[in-house]
Assembly symmetry: D2
Homo-oligomer: 338 residues x 4
């Protein structure tokens, strides 16, 4: 940590801060500049008391960390990329799997129809929501356990592993019985109890970035899962909130190379939620693969204008099939396969 | 809802959309302009299927709601302001109570010391966190039930009612046993299961706005609590995330008059989290009262530079006492008392 | 326009608003819903008085436009994409040209060195700043006319057309004498006098999106240039300002398909300014091409750590050459060439 | 500056960076931590080459400034607050003057009517736009010099000094002939040529913060005016762009105490543009005064629903008069007068 002192701080005040630094377990080095005095506090920052509390002192202007606060998620801890295997599908390797399916599981017929269609089109994992976090209490909230059973049936018929969202700690066990990948939604990215609980299951986790979650906070949320002993975490960019209203969110593809630089965990991109419009899904899916995404997750519905949720951002199966065809050469152009 | 069609849509296509509107339970009115055709769909929008799914059609350019989607939280449902009584303290009336206390409960001595100090200074409600949502898994996570017991002891000694955060559904009952007000933190503002659960307790709820929660979404989160049968909801502005980094968050005081225009629920302001710097708390607290806040919630710690969380934004008791003195004339200037 | 009235508005008040709508040259259609009354105002909105001023009435809740406010920039006005020819290079066609060069022109030797290098690597247009808009008055402000002369010399030697920024109305003529493309920087995107002036020159214009410019505002800025009689406008996405600090700006690639859907103008992407870090330029350049960008503009400097501006986001010539090689298959994957 | 090196950097690489630091005129101090090595570069940062260019090196992870980059605008340069006198009105002292008037000057009758009304209500300075920066080229662009003449006539009749916007360098001299205060609009906050030019006039300047301008950039823009020899700069907060759409912009009142902490320049608040809705102007004006604003600037129009610009955010004269009455006790509550 670097502690920047206010101008005009006296020698005894500097000594007092140095003593506090020592008391917190760090070694202080004072550097007196022409204008500012700074104290470099040397020591392992992670897992230690946060020196930023020294900002509470009137003699301190700012405290600036020099290390990233996450450890297990960091490239410095593990150099090679993490590969996660899910019933024969690998996320994080040379192949870029596509997860696809409806936003919500609406009926057995619907989920089976979509599962067959996306499998035929080239998807390797089936997505579908049984527990739905909805902004309004008056909106469809999901079929819950019934929906999980339909997903399991679709897996049985198609062989596609299933990713589905877990909304709350009480249903972690139940969802983990049915799902191959536990999804943590954007609104739960800092639901730390839930993160620990899914960490304890040992199941692969798809962790979505929140709409106002910084990259650093996102990796700290992953750290909650990792530090519970579960190394199978996929990071999913799904759009952040900005001033722009022509898209539902602003899909932040910059996050892909940034995350891959800082972390060894695989990165998934969700262009459906990220843009909110079906006609933007294809170009942004291609862009995601081009900048290094390890997988995609895409909403597909046979009749989007009748969907119980997220119709406007869902692709029809025929368009999805065309997108998969168009994605193949893009993956190859960056040295991967689809 | 207003459905704006794409240019060049044919008559049969318009008829198809009108039929879909009828099927969803609304009455369509078509208006043909020089450039655009729009369909006004007349009917009660709340609690009904959301016409926005028609955006999934290729013939539709946009669907624009004309009603606010919340009902119980709305001024149109209830004209007069809601007043919430907590052991003799009223939030939402002519008096502007101040809630104060440490970010985290750290020890019995600490919470008792702060409780006595803030009571002497003029606070009417004691705040303090026993369950702490921390960005990093390596940071102090709170004393949990032990912390609740210390808060209860502080209430016994000072008579101050207690507001404390509930982090997860499993501990709602436990926290509700000890607390007078259940706080839902910013990171849980769209944890819909938790919202329903605190709604079912019937206890007063302090609902914090998330860092990327729009006013409309915020009121829909309140609607979850209200629709569980609990009318005692306080809305708390605590800073949103913007590009500006000179403050930890951007305290959005505009939310105060906007919320009071749209809703009958009382509005609380948290200048400590909203700014992140103790020396900005006083001016922003005064501004909050001046623009109509119904209550304040402020972090106070006897030794901020040793606090286990949020030291940099905590006031020392003496500064807090001075702030309360300075707030009184501001409250009176806008026709209220402190 | 759709005018949404407040609940409880009386018949004479509705009549008054309808009369105001007529006075402003529109035909009103009143639709009475169960909860809300709305008035649809039919007529050409563009170039007409803006009905949004009716929001000033206490009887009006909101006024919602149904047409995009730009005309000449719109796909509805011109269906086929605009191609812009610059000395034999076409922007907006099947080929995706790369503009490259230093942020600032620093010396004749430097610009000649870079120009030769980027040409050899496959760039088709030379970029370089002679007039520099710098956040601090103490930073290097550019070589001005001297810099323009060096750029012209580089063009003479390499044959590459030159794009360079024009900062102020007084120097439009001078810059237009030397440059092949006039660049309007992000900070001038709403400098309307400058937009008109470059419009009058008839020279191709590269218009950069501002860091807080919405897509709609961006196209209205283009409309200023177009309505001055100049149809040769390229729209350049270069990063918007969000809460995320791991990149200098957030390159908003969603803007590429959104702009191409709304407008016929070609879209250029600047991954150097958009990310601010040289090691993010390559992945984001590939993503830009994959989602449909018509051209790229990239900063290249022989010795970035000695650059007078923007060193951290500049590529060395060897890395640039490698990027161009890697971009070719990506362009082909989406049916284009580089 | 603090230069944080990448993990695993070798001794010769550290020596190379130290040499570069020396070459740039700073003294390097190397601190080796357990995980990271940092180099503190000691020296005056302002007006010097920016060490951040060392981020271009592959051995450098980040460069962090420890000094604010502005000098003349800083409290460290000048401790006591700057007071600016304008024909007998002082901004920055114990009194909080109110600037009021129409968004646009529309006719002589209109500006005279408003000027008389706001003077009677207690305003001390007349605002009004003769040159209007409009998002759309089809919107009313102002009466230009004619408008300036009407403003001068209004000053003659009422004695109120005039603040009006200058849009472009060519009209600086002309506007300076008529105006008492030159306003730089939000869209021109980084139009550095214009900033220098108004600096050279020596006239008081009202500098509006841009919608995506950080506090630091804002003060650097002020530095352009100050370093041209003009010390009479007022900083005006007028709303920033965020994700929230219930207000036109998000008026960032936090900027008031932050600016007053960092700078000696007076701070003005514009609640009209900041919120975009007339019914939010009064509460936010009170909040602005409560948190320390030195002046207010408010739009007033006799018939807002017929205004040629910004009607929805304009107050009628009677409401403005009421607001001034309500502001007086708020000013007194914070030790000032109105």
């Amino acid at each position: 940590m670097i502690i920047v002192l206010k101008s005009g701080v006296s020698d005894p005040e500097v000594a007092d801060i140095c003593q506090r630094v020592r008391d917190l377990g760090y070694q202080p080095h004072t550097i007196r500049g022409e204008v500012k005095t700074v104290i470099a506090a040397v020591g392992e920052e992670r897992g230690q008391p946060d020196l930023r509390l020294l900002e509470a002192l009137e003699t301190v202007e700012a405290v600036m960390p020099v290390q990233q606060p996450f450890k297990l998620a960091s490239r410095e801890t593990r150099g090679e990329p993490t590969e996660i295997g899910i019933n024969g599908v690998t996320v994080g390797g040379g192949r870029v799997p596509v997860m696809a399916g409806p936003c919500s599981v609406e009926s057995e017929a619907q989920v089976l129809e979509v599962a067959e269609a996306v499998k035929a089109a080239g998807a390797s994992i089936l997505r579908g929501g049984a527990y739905k976090p909805r902004t309004s209490p008056y909106a469809f909230q999901g079929l819950k356990e019934q929906g999980l059973r339909y997903l399991a049936e679709a897996r049985k018929r198609t062989g596609l592993p299933v990713v589905t969202e877990v909304l709350e700690t009480e249903s972690v066990e139940l969802v983990a019985e049915y799902a191959d990948i536990l999804q943590i939604g954007a609104r739960n990215v800092q639901n730390f109890t839930l993160l620990r609980r899914v960490g304890e299951t040992g199941k692969p986790v798809l962790l979505k970035r929140g709409m106002a979650t910084s990259i650093q906070e996102f990796l700290l949320s992953a750290e909650y899962v990792l530090s519970a002993g579960n190394r199978q975490v996929m990071l999913c960019e799904r759009g952040i909130r900005t001033f722009e209203t022509s898209t539902r969110f602003t899909l932040d593809l910059n996050a892909v190379p940034v995350l891959k630089k800082l972390s060894h965990l695989p990165v998934v991109v969700d262009p459906s939620h990220g843009t909110g419009h079906w006609d933007l899904v294809a170009p942004m899916a291609k862009a995601a693969v081009a900048c290094g995404a390890d997988a995609l997750i895409i909403e597909v519905h046979p009749r989007p204008a009748e969907a119980l949720s997220d119709g406007p951002q869902s692709l029809k199966p025929s368009r999805f099939a065309q997108l998969v065809r168009e994605l193949r050469p893009v993956a190859e152009a960056v040295g991967r396969t689809l």
